[in-house]
Assembly symmetry: C2
Homo-oligomer: 255 residues x 2
């Protein structure tokens, strides 16, 4: 299936484009065959979007939920004159804004990074699904709690770690997150972000990110080129970062 940018279609019962959602939720908790089928039958509009395309804007009153089928997205806020803080990065399978189910007003922006395929699921469809399968409520709730745990760790990252540690920690997280859904292996994974993005995610300037990255490369820790991250030694990187994966809560997921 190929789609040009902006081209859309509506997924129906016989279409399997929502499979990534099934896989994601199955990685959180057991799904019955009926639940799986119900998820696949969700109404959804699928679109392929170009780089830096806003999916959600601050102040929106969203009537749908975004599901990343493929590609990358970033959650961010602006502050003052053009200063931007990225709050999270998202990879294929991530539900970007379950919060819309309960919070009427969006308090931040989400945009694609390089490009992405996104499924828009109407809130109504999601509500109907959850009403029919209460077990899925727990699954989605759990997912949103893990997101919150990641936000907390980001507060710690920008608040109390050095520039060097911040970047190390971010790389650990992005690798671990992708490894958990089998998007990473052999200490290599995609990371299609610019140095400006990294700066906005770590609370630094792009100049300083550039210098710090060079230092990390010099220390033989990592290499980041062409949107690919290569980690030379996982133990060295996690030690440098002070990385403890507990907050990602993947252990129980693997069950």
């Amino acid at each position: 299936m190929r789609l040009q940018q902006g081209e859309a279609f509506v997924a129906g019962p016989s279409d399997h484009s929502l499979e990534p959602l099934v896989r994601k939720l199955a990685s959180i908790s057991m799904l019955s065959p009926e639940e799986q089928q119900a998820i696949r039958s969700l109404t959804a509009k699928v679109r392929r979007l170009g780089p830096r395309h806003d999916l959600v804007r601050e102040g929106d009153r969203p009537s749908r939920c975004c599901l990343l089928l493929e590609g990358w997205a970033a959650r961010y806020k602006f502050v003052g004159e053009g200063k931007r803080q990225i709050i999270s990065f998202h990879v294929a399978g991530d539900l970007l804004d379950v919060q819309n189910l309960h919070l009427g007003l969006s308090d931040h922006n989400i945009s694609t990074l390089p490009q992405a395929t996104v499924a828009f699921i109407p809130l109504e469809a999601l509500r109907t699904l959850l009403a029919k399968f209460p077990g899925l409520t727990a699954t989605l709730w759990r997912d949103s709690l893990v997101d919150a745990a990641i936000f907390r760790e980001w507060v710690v990252n920008v608040g109390r770690r050095s520039a060097y540690q911040r970047l190390c920690h971010l790389f650990c997280e992005m690798y671990a997150k992708q490894a958990a859904v089998e998007l990473a292996q052999d200490l290599r994974c995609p990371l299609p972000v610019t140095q400006v993005d990294l700066a906005d995610a770590t609370g630094l300037t792009s100049v300083h990110v550039n210098r710090t990255l060079r230092a990390m490369r010099g220390d033989g820790l990592i290499n980041l080129t062409g949107g690919k991250l290569t980690i030379n030694s996982w133990p060295d990187l996690t030690t440098a970062a002070g990385f403890d994966p507990t907050y990602l809560h993947v252990e129980a997921r693997a069950a």
Copy 2:
């Protein structure tokens, strides 16, 4: 009702000590009389705790949920050698760790600030309640989503605002949060935190907090003494902070 530190009793159907929880949840969404009664009948152990008493520790496998009946608490993590980052402050009525319902392992610490009265609710009791009243699930879920929104704003605060703005913003948030549950009025509210706490919450050092506070006092913005915050001009403070209360999602709560 007076309790010495550590003294406990078990709340029963006829006891109204869980009233703050009813009020808190009622401020989030409408509660039926049955739901209210069911909440009041929750099993809970109530304790009065002294200052800096840990309620939850990183690595715990908690079997209960903490509800702040009175006083203050802080959520925090350690990083490296004794460096600490506070991730949130909590006031009376706050449910501190609903996440325990879905995440088995605690990834951070929570401690009382000066002192507090806390109700410990067994997860089992909470699960039974939610199974019986699905509407309460939505209420608690919403509450945890608002918490997540606050975490996001904290990422922005420590990541992209100046020391001066960070403190202004924190004060705006603490006042607004308390005003929403009628714990603050007339531009005055409790804020029983030390300058070290403020530093750990904003990613600064206590020395710098001290100087910044003095500057704010000099500018006639606020006064913070004896655990009480006095705001001289709400518009001036919010402007200085770049404060936009959207992320607190109180509008819908007031419904």
